[in-house]
Symmetry: C2
Subunit: 528 residues, 2 copies
């Protein structure tokens, strides 16, 4: 219990009403001091009725508007969220242990993504279908033609989000979905659902969206998946294991529900073979690795886990990383001097500590403070984990380095022999969300794009000309694809308006010139 | 055993060698007389080594060529197949009981699809990556840019095909895959693998393709899926049940192998509310339903299973269908007067007869010849099933009509009340590959495209101007998407060059203007 106030009850907004579960439910804690700040329960809530309401009311109401009208609603949501920015930062600090930089990624990332889709969606006009190309002749008779269009799916989009981005995770999915004309049914991770709930409440109170188009379930999902049906879409972000469970769920299988998965992955950063000690590229590389290890206390599905460096430079890079990591002040995010806060809760801390123990069997610890005292916080009560750097003598020494994701401020330096070896090791992650490559050799960078492209969803190529202006390895931009093959789940989110295909059915239409002209006039081509 | 000759042994082409299993394996029969004509065994074959060979040798060899060079190889394959067309028709008759029209769909469909991709692929030049748009600014610094590209997957494409199209199923998948730069590992359905094997043998003998780029496994797949790994793609055509098993296979899950599924579905044909008795549209509709029921003896995953007609026209349409069906001569496909051959074997005949029994509990039989004697064939030894037409009094009378696919010459007339009801009933199939709509009302047809588009992969809209020139409800064109949501598996094949995305990873690339210009110059934009 918090020493100051009674814990809050985090409600759910379902079927157009705020609802509360019938028991106290799960505790939400402040990871800085371990106090319980809220409870969320979904016990006894009628999820079948709630999902049905989204489908029956929300979908049709949304599709009474066209793309551009819905885009305008996204702009209004962004404005509402921007007006309460300070409130979101406070919740993010209290419930997620976020520093201002951490919370900025989540909160400003939400607002920025909504504004982006408000802007690009405005160009789509008032239609309710996408066109992919123009009618084209199909046979001898020029009057028999074909056309591909995209039609919004008829069900509800269920968004199952991870604990690390309660704000951005909600809105990056919701923006594309609402723009597409599908109702959103959000299920944030319970441990940090407070921010998501408050954001939804602000939007509901502002009366921006049509009835039924935005719902949120706080607490356990219970039997939610049993109520899914054909026409629904599930977009999940989280662990590979949970992703597989969703995909294998009998109801999902039997109804052929579309599922998109973004799973954690063993993302790598590569320092090019050409980069010399003390160069600008070397500096940019070390700075980025440290940023990725410490931002959000390393709790990002895109974070760098494997630091690939030429074998003869491994010692130097490791030393530079150790020097930078030892400058990071870990502690209470309320203290402005603190550069890294706690992880989300004691359970995650335990999981990370176990991961560190496992990795220690195959890799040596290069940095981990022997005596560790968080700033302005109790090391026992808070969920603090100091940054920890591993190294391996060679890439084949450890399979865990390519396989075990420790979801905290933890990374491993892996030496490589040559260019081919650098690409081969990066690929050993078995499919990742993002990889970044630092080099001054344009050919090496271009080769990396194709060599690593088949196993990654995003490739960041940093030459010195963008060393200070690139947006970062871990930052997901709304205009670029987010997702990755293999272990990363095989999903595709965002990527600008292309992301709307997740919420549309692509369909081939065949007919006469007259019929296809009529259909084409009701659809809009996605601008490149 | 055939009375004339010793049964053949259908070999497999794996690891660049023709191989034979260590036992006799499964029998392939002639469904017209029930004689065994061949055996196929894969017992003891080293499938792990074979798949590895495709990945290690076939993939890199193929990707030494660019798109246009590979497109040229497809043209050569088409020529080799065209030169032996009569031989393929003979095998299709003997092993699949195909009439000339049936075999034409399979054989000429193969050649046509290869020629189509040879032609459209020629425009792609010698690059080995796709570009999706041009580099675009990502942040304040105009030099920091983003671009989406497509990179061929690094593994092997495993194609698991259905018994009904041993030729076309092989080549429609192989054409797109080879063009994309991935090696093909084909696993035809054992019961009709003879044609697929002979076609592959002709192509191998002609020395067209690089070593390792085309393999075929005839017989049981044994533990094939256990050898899959990240970077592979599985494209499956067949039953929804088998599709689910593939998707849930532990190795597929654990490695995040990309899976595309085309499953059978309860496709509908709709007669518009505006169509009057005796009109041209009515005639086109009846003709198409009969064609779909009898072509390939109804063994097409796209075939019309549900015949939706306005309630007040149901009796008239059913009578017209009965009149047409009673003209169909069923029997030995060698007899030129025969319009419909047997189904593929006794097991399928049994399965269809069981399906008819089940449907009979909820629907009444409108047509099924009481005394049935196939032309030039033994009714007991051959796998003959006469065309069978059911009807229901109203759509809510039977759930089986929307749920049980009888994979033979079987369809059900379902009356509907009005426009909305017609669309609602069509959607009750839970996701289908194709739906066709016959009407003279452009608005109704255009409404059908969006109303049915979210639950179908293809919508054929027939007005009288294309009544004679359209290519048919069940015909899959290489330029149009083949696949459907929900029950139909959620897959996307073909659709012109768009189909290549199944064999590419879409990846976002971020970098400086210089780097992205270099990458863009190595990639080719898919022409619309």
């Amino acid at each position: 219990m918090s020493s100051q106030t009674e814990p809050l009850i985090v409600q759910s907004y379902l079927g157009g009403k705020w609802q509360t579960g019938s028991d106290r439910g799960a505790a939400l804690v402040n990871p800085t001091d371990g106090f319980t700040i809220a409870f969320a329960s979904s016990k006894g809530l009628d999820l079948g009725a709630a999902l049905d309401y989204s489908r029956r009311v929300g979908g049709p109401e949304l599709r009474k508007l066209g793309y551009a009208q819905r885009a305008a609603l996204l702009g209004k949501i962004a404005d509402v969220l921007a007006a309460k920015r300070e409130q979101w930062f406070e919740i993010a600090r209290k419930n997620s242990g976020n520093t201002k930089a951490d919370a900025g990624m989540d909160v400003d990332g939400s607002i920025g993504t909504l504004k982006y889709f408000a802007k690009v969606g405005a160009a789509l006009g008032d239609s309710n279908a996408l066109a992919d190309g123009a009618p084209a002749r199909l046979a001898r008779d020029p009057n028999f033609q074909g056309l591909h269009i995209g039609v919004p799916m008829s069900g509800v989009a269920v968004h199952i989000n991870a604990f690390n981005f309660p704000g951005w995770g909600l809105w990056e999915k919701a923006a594309v979905t609402l723009l597409s004309g599908m109702p959103v049914f959000a299920k944030p991770a319970t441990s940090t659902c407070w921010l998501a709930k408050e954001m939804v409440a602000a939007v509901v109170e502002a009366g921006i969206l049509p009835e039924g188009s935005l719902s949120i379930l706080c607490g356990s999902p219970n039997e939610m998946l049993d109520h899914l049906q054909f026409g629904d879409v599930v977009a999940f972000t989280g662990s590979a294991g949970t992703g597989q469970k969703i995909r294998q769920h009998p109801r999902v299988q039997q109804q052929g529900v579309r599922v998109n998965i973004e799973a954690d992955s063993l993302n790598a950063a590569l320092l090019g073979p050409d980069v010399s000690d003390g160069s600008a590229s070397s500096h940019f590389f070390v700075r980025e690795v440290v940023r990725e290890m410490t931002l959000k206390a390393g709790q990002k599905c895109t974070a760098i886990r494997r630091v690939l460096v030429p074998a003869d430079r491994a010692a130097g890079v490791a030393s530079a990383l150790v020097a930078a990591l030892s400058e990071v002040r870990v502690g209470n995010p309320e203290n402005e001097a603190v550069g890294m806060g706690p992880v989300v809760n004691g359970q995650q801390r335990k999981s990370i500590e176990n991961g560190i123990k496992s990795l220690s069997k195959e890799a040596s610890i290069r940095y981990r403070p022997a005596k560790f005292t968080p700033v302005d916080a109790d090391p026992e009560a808070g969920a603090f984990v100091p940054p920890t750097l591993f190294e391996v003598a060679n890439a084949s020494q450890s399979s865990l380095v390519n396989d075990l994701e420790v979801f905290g401020p933890v990374a491993t330096v892996v030496p490589y022999r040559d260019k081919d070896d650098s690409f081969a090791i990066a690929q050993r992650g078995g499919g990742s969300l993002a990889v970044s490559v630092f080099s001054e050799d344009t050919n090496y960078l271009a080769d990396a794009a194709t060599a690593l492209g088949s196993s990654h969803g995003r490739v960041l190529l940093v030459d010195p000309s963008i060393g200070d202006s690139h947006t970062g390895h871990g930052i997901v931009l709304p205009s670029l694809l987010h997702g990755g093959p293999g272990r990363a789940g095989g999903g595709e989110e965002l990527g600008g308006l292309h992301g709307m295909w997740l919420y549309h059915q692509r369909v081939a239409v065949q007919g006469s010139g007259t019929t296809l002209t009529a259909i084409a006039s009701r659809a809009v081509e996605i601008p490149k």
